[in-house]
C-alpha cells in the first residue's frame, strides 16, 4: 500500500466523521428528547443533558408503568406478526431455495427452467404492495382475518418469501453436495438429508434470511395499516397514530420510537456480518 498524502488522509477522516455525525445525531436527539421535560422539548433546542437541560425519566415511567399494558400490547403484536412471518418464510424459502438449487425443473406450457422460476419468484418482491390493497381488504373481511395476528403473519410470509428463496438458493448453490450425497448413500432420504445435514450446515444463510424477514416485517407499514384496526395493531401503526392524538408529544414519541427501533438495531449490530452477507448475495447475484 502506497502512503497517502496528508491532505487525503485529512479529507478521508473528515468525510467519515461528518457522515457518522449525520447518521448518529438524529438518534442522539431521539435519546435526549425522551429524557427532556416538556418545556425543554418544545422551546429552543437543548443539546446537552445536565448542561442546558435537567433530564427526567417521567416519560419512560409513563411509557413503562402508566401505559405499560398499551405499549406491551403493540410491542407483542409486532413481535408475533414479525416472528410468525419470519418463521414461515424462512421454512418455505429454504425448501424452495433447496429445490431450485438441487433439482432441475421445467414447467410445462411456460417452458420455464430454474432460472426463470427464480426470476419470477424474486419479481414478486418488487410488485408495489398497493396492488394488493383492494383484494386483500375484500378477501380478509370475507375470511374474518382483519385485525388478527394470523392475517398479518400470512401477509408477511407472502412478501418475505421471494427474498428468502433468492438468498437461500444462492446459499445452497455454494454448499457442496458431497455431505448430503454420503448421507443418502447411508440410507437417509432427501427429506432427512435436508433436515439433518443441509439445514444445520446452512445456519449462516438461514440467520441472514431470518434477520431480513424479521426487520422487513417489524418495520412494515402498509399491510399493517390496512389489515388491522385495534387488537392486532403493530408498533409502526401505533407510533404513526401518535401524530394526531393530543398534539405531538415529542418526549413520549421519542421514548416509544426508541422502544420500537432498539431491538431491531441491536439485532443488526450484533449480527452485522450476516446482514452484509445477505445484502451482497441479494445484489451481486441479481
Amino acid at each position: 500500500m502506497t502512503r497517502r498524502p496528508l491532505w487525503q488522509t485529512v479529507l478521508l477522516y473528515a468525510t467519515v466523521l461528518f457522515w457518522c455525525f449525520i447518521v448518529l445525531f438524529p438518534f442522539y436527539w431521539l435519546g435526549t428528547t425522551s429524557f427532556k421535560r416538556q418545556l425543554d422539548a418544545i422551546r429552543l433546542p437543548k443539546y446537552v443533558p445536565y448542561y442546558d437541560f435537567e433530564p427526567t425519566t417521567e416519560h419512560w415511567d409513563y411509557l413503562i408503568n402508566v401505559r405499560g399494558d398499551v405499549t406491551w400490547r403493540h410491542f407483542r403484536n409486532s413481535l408475533i406478526a414479525a416472528s410468525g412471518g419470519t418463521f414461515f418464510s424462512v421454512l418455505v424459502g429454504a425448501m424452495a431455495g433447496y429445490g431450485l438449487s438441487r433439482f432441475r425443473y421445467r414447467w410445462p406450457v411456460l417452458n420455464w427452467d430454474n432460472d426463470n422460476i427464480s426470476f419470477w419468484v424474486i419479481s414478486q418482491r418488487f410488485l408495489p404492495p398497493a396492488l394488493f390493497v383492494v383484494p386483500f381488504l375484500i378477501a380478509y373481511s370475507n375470511l374474518n382475518l382483519i385485525d388478527t395476528h394470523l392475517g398479518l403473519i400470512i401477509a408477511y410470509t407472502m412478501f418475505n418469501i421471494p427474498f428468502a428463496v433468492w438468498i437461500m438458493r444462492d446459499f445452497f448453490n455454494g454448499l457442496p453436495v458431497d455431505l448430503e450425497e454420503s448421507a443418502r448413500v447411508d440410507g437417509a432420504n432427501r427429506w432427512t438429508a435436508f433436515m439433518r445435514i443441509v439445514l444445520p450446515l446452512s445456519a449462516p444463510g438461514l440467520v441472514s434470511v431470518a434477520i431480513f424477514s424479521f426487520v422487513f416485517s417489524w418495520n412494515e407499514y402498509l399491510y399493517a395499516l390496512m389489515l388491522t384496526n385495534f387488537e392486532a395493531i403493530t408498533m409502526p401503526i401505533f407510533i404513526a397514530g401518535q401524530n394526531t392524538q393530543r398534539g405531538v408529544e415529542w418526549w413520549y414519541i421519542s421514548a416509544l420510537a426508541l422502544t420500537a427501533i432498539v431491538p431491531v438495531v441491536l439485532i443488526g449490530l450484533l449480527l452485522q456480518r450476516f446482514i452484509t452477507r445477505g445484502l451482497v448475495a441479494g445484489a451481486l447475484k441479481g
Binding site: 500500500m1 478521508l12 477522516y13 467519515v16 457522515w19 457518522c20 449525520i22 447518521v23 448518529l24 438518534f27 431521539l30 428528547t33 443539546y47 418455505v92 425448501m95 424452495a96 429445490g99 438449487s101 433439482f103 425443473y105 422460476i117 419468484v121 418488487f126 410488485l127 408495489p128 396492488l131 390493497v133 383492494v134 383484494p135 381488504l137 407472502m158 418469501i161 421471494p162 428463496v165 448453490n173 457442496p176 453436495v177 432420504n189 427429506w191 435436508f194 407499514y221 402498509l222 390496512m226 408498533m235 409502526p236 407510533i239 401524530n243 415529542w250 414519541i253 420510537a257 427501533i261 431491531v264 439485532i267 443488526g268 452485522q272 445484502l279 445484489a283 451481486l284 447475484k285 441479481g286
Partner: protein
Amino acid sequence: MQRSTRESKQEAAAALTVDITREDRVMKRVFLSPAVIVLLALSIFPLFWSLGISFTDVLRGGSTLEREAAMTGEEASGFLGLDFDVTLRNYERIFHDERLHIAARNTLFFVFVGVTIQYAFGLLLALVLHQEFIGRSVVRVIFLMPMMTMPVVVGYLGRMMFDSYRSPLADLYRHFVTWWDGVPLIGSQLDPTLPWLTDGSWARATIVIMDSWQWIPFVTLILLAGMQAIPDDIYEAARVDGASSLQMFWRITLPLLAPLSLTVILIRGLETFKIIDVIVVTTGGGPGSATESLTMYIYKTALTFGNYSYAAAISFALLVLVIVFATAFLGLGRRAVPRGM
C-alpha cells in the same frame, strides 16, 4: 467472487444430473410447491382479481347494483347477469384525475431525485470506506443503523430535525442568519425560518433527504462489497502503467461496478415507488397534496373514500409506471454496460 460462483454453479449442475430416482421426482415438487402455492394464492391470484375489480363499479359495501338491489329489494341484473356493472369508467377517470397526476409526479420526483442522490452519495462513501483507516469496522456498523430503523421513526426523526422553529437545524440557520446580517457588502437580512415541511417544493425535497438518509448506507454497503471483489492486480497493473487514481476510478472501478450499480439503482427505484410511511408521519401528503405519493393516494382511495374499483385501477396505473421504469432502465443499462459483464 465470479470464479467461486462458476464453481458452485458447476457443483449445482453436477447435483442436477443426479435427479433421476422416483423419490426425487416426488421430492422436487415437495420442496418447491409450498413457495409456489403461496405466491400463486397470495400474489398472482389477487393481482388478477384486482384487475377484474378495476373494470367494475365495486365500492366498499358492494357494487352500485348490489346496493340498489338492497335498497329496492329487486333482483340485481348487471352485465351477464352478474351483480355488478362492467365499465371502463375507472380507467377514463385516471386521465382526468388532477390529484392522481400530482401524486404520480411526486412519486416520480421521489424516485428519480432520490435514487440519483442515493447513488451519488453512496458511491462517494463507498470509495471512502474502501480506503484503509482506523475504525473502519465500527463505521460500517454505524452505517447499518439507518437501514434498520423503522421508516415511521425516520419520519419522526425528520420532523424533529427539520422543524422550522425548534429543530437543531433551525437553530443553526438562525445563527447563520444573524451572522450573514453582519457580513459587510453582501450581507442582508434573511427570513430566520425555512419552510422545511410547510412549503410544497421544500417538503418534497425534505422527504427525499429523509429517504436518502435512510438508504444511502444501503447503496454504500453494496457498492463497497462490489469494490472489494475487484482483484487488486488490476489496479497494480494500471499503476505500473502509470495511471493516476482518477483514471483508475473512471477506467477500472466504475466500469467494473456497472452491473452492480444497475442492480442497486433498480432495487432502490422499485422500492421508492412504494414510498408511503415516511410521508404519512411527516406531512401526511400535505400541504394540500404536494407530497402525496401514489401508494398513499391508492390507500386513501380504498380506505378513506371506500372506492375499491378506482383504487384497483390506479394501482394498475402504478404497476404500468413501475414496469415502464424497470424496462426502460434495464434497456438503457444494457446498452451502457460493456458486453460480457
